[in-house]
């Protein structure tokens, strides 16, 4: 199998949750509060993919898997995961803008100003944009060592994404705390390897 085909198939796999949501959308199977369903699921998948992206390096260090043999070069696996996170984040934003804000600019701006968790969500999504744009090989070459520095922003924006979720929750912080713990573990593994 060519690498291009592998990348394509892996991307398709990562897009399955989105197809599931689309199917539910078309068949009226999003439950009592369809917009909340879409927002929670796209938000959750964004965080899952961010955490998966962050777990590639530790997996590499621990298990030294032969990515080429099983899947494709490690950087390609990571790129597809990272871009998937971006894709779900965009769906998340689109749901919010269309169904929550009714595409009203003033409503959206007011919401961002008034609510810290919306602002934090926006900041983390905006931070994702340059990472998504510069995810290609040509950008990597063009930016050289700066590329790595830039892409370290994923640490901050993953944390902000989880914070965005934690601030929204009314009383039961169980789920955001799980995400935060996973994030902390992935960060600690890095500190260990870097030192």
């Amino acid at each position: 199998m060519t690498t291009a085909l592998k990348v394509f198939l892996f991307s398709l796999l990562c897009s399955l949750p989105a197809w599931d949501l689309a199917w539910r959308f078309l068949n009226d199977e999003l439950g009592a509060n369809p917009v909340e369903f879409l927002e929670h699921h796209t938000g959750d998948w964004t965080i899952y993919f961010l955490l998966l992206t962050l777990s590639i390096t530790p997996i590499q260090k621990f298990f030294k898997p032969n990515w080429n043999r099983w899947l494709m070069p490690m950087h390609l696996v990571r790129r597809v995961l990272g871009l998937s996170a971006f894709g779900y984040a965009l769906l998340h934003l689109a749901t919010y803008l269309v169904f929550d804000m009714g595409l009203s600019l003033t409503d959206s701006v007011n919401d961002i100003i008034e609510r810290p968790f919306i602002l934090i969500g926006m900041v983390s999504l905006i931070l994702l944009i340059p990472l998504a744009i510069t995810s290609t090989a040509s950008w990597q070459k063009r930016l050289k060592r700066h590329w790595q520095t830039l892409h370290k922003a994923i640490y901050t924006l993953t944390f902000l994404g989880i914070l965005h979720y934690a601030l929204l929750v009314k009383a039961d912080l169980f789920q955001p705390l799980i995400y935060l713990s996973l994030f902390a573990i992935l960060m600690l593994l890095r500190i260990r390897f870097d030192s």
Binding site: G31, F99, G102, L168, K170, D172
Partner: protein, 298 residues
């Protein structure tokens, strides 16, 4: 025209059916009180607004009832963990006739169906046909004294309830109303929904419905009603005083700290609609809050 269930069915057949259902329940053949408790009720024409009823599928499966879990589907999933056998409601405090009522006493009061708007603080809403009786009717029976200025509601406390294993809220769930709010004709003690007895996830066997306030003011599975002199604290006020006030009247002009309350999304719908002042009951209840700064008393 008023048409009650027992006018349609012959009284004897009706009673036989109840007896039959009761015997099935006793034999353990029918697990859910949803089927076991048929209700006698009439439709009150004064409270039948021409609103589109929420699909019962949504209203019975999408619930906030933290005693049974914090996700919206948990209460339905864990409904069997709530035991409503031999349910009693104690009314005590500032009254000359404190009384313990069992469900049979409460179901002897005339039950009526009323269609109410119901607005959750989270920004979703429904239109629900509740069955029940005005709380005022019940409170009058215990003869409140002049010291009774507020009413406190206490919900079930049971270590078998999955949500109560964690101190997500200060259990048991407590809520409160001012005496005039409690005595208001719109304030309902609900025993049924969509023509049937309340299912557990909706707060069986008896709950409060205060249609001009956010949903969490309408306590579920009530075991105690206390008439008190001072304003009681509610579980949500204890949890997050900056976000949940004592009044919690539906008010599109006062935002929740984390979201606007100007609009709401009816369950099942993609788009939002404007939230009405006092949830559409402004004519009936605005007088209760005359001269009060509703931003301060949120």
């Amino acid at each position: 025209m008023k048409l009650t269930e027992n006018q349609v069915t012959d009284q004897n057949l009706y009673l036989n059916r109840r007896q039959f259902v009761k015997s099935l329940t006793a034999a353990g053949l029918l697990g859910t009180p949803f089927i076991a408790n048929a209700l006698d009720f009439s439709k009150n024409p004064d409270y039948q607004p021409r609103l589109k009823l929420t699909d019962p599928e949504h209203a019975l499966h999408y619930n906030n009832f933290y005693e049974l879990g914090t996700s919206k589907e948990d209460p339905f999933r864990n409904a069997d963990k709530l035991n409503t056998d031999n349910w009693k409601v104690v009314i005590e405090g500032e009254c000359s006739k404190p009384t313990t009522f069992d469900m049979d006493d409460l179901l002897k009061l005339e039950q009526e169906e009323r269609i109410y708007r119901f607005r959750c603080v989270e920004g979703w809403s429904m239109v629900v046909p509740w069955i029940g009786f005005p709380l005022a009717k019940l409170l009058k029976q215990v003869q409140p004294t002049s010291k009774a200025k507020f009413v406190e509601f206490v919900s079930i406390e049971d270590s078998n309830l999955p949500g109560q294993r964690f101190r997500i809220l200060d259990w048991p769930y407590r809520e409160g109303l001012r005496m005039d709010e409690a005595m208001h004709p719109l304030t309902l003690m609900a025993t049924g929904i969509y023509g049937e007895a309340l299912p557990n996830q909706n707060g069986a066997p008896i709950r409060l419905v205060v249609p001009w306030k956010y949903g969490f003011k309408s306590s579920k599975s009530i075991v105690k009603i206390r008439l008190v002199e001072k304003q009681p604290f509610s579980s949500w006020m204890v949890a997050t005083p900056s976000e949940y006030g004592f009044y919690s009247n539906v008010n599109p002009n006062v935002s929740h700290p984390r979201w606007s309350q100007a609009k709401e999304r009816p369950l099942g719908s993609f788009f939002k609609q404007k939230t009405l002042m006092f949830n559409g009951y402004e004519n009936e209840v605005a007088g209760l809050y005359k001269g009060m700064d509703l931003k301060k008393y949120f």
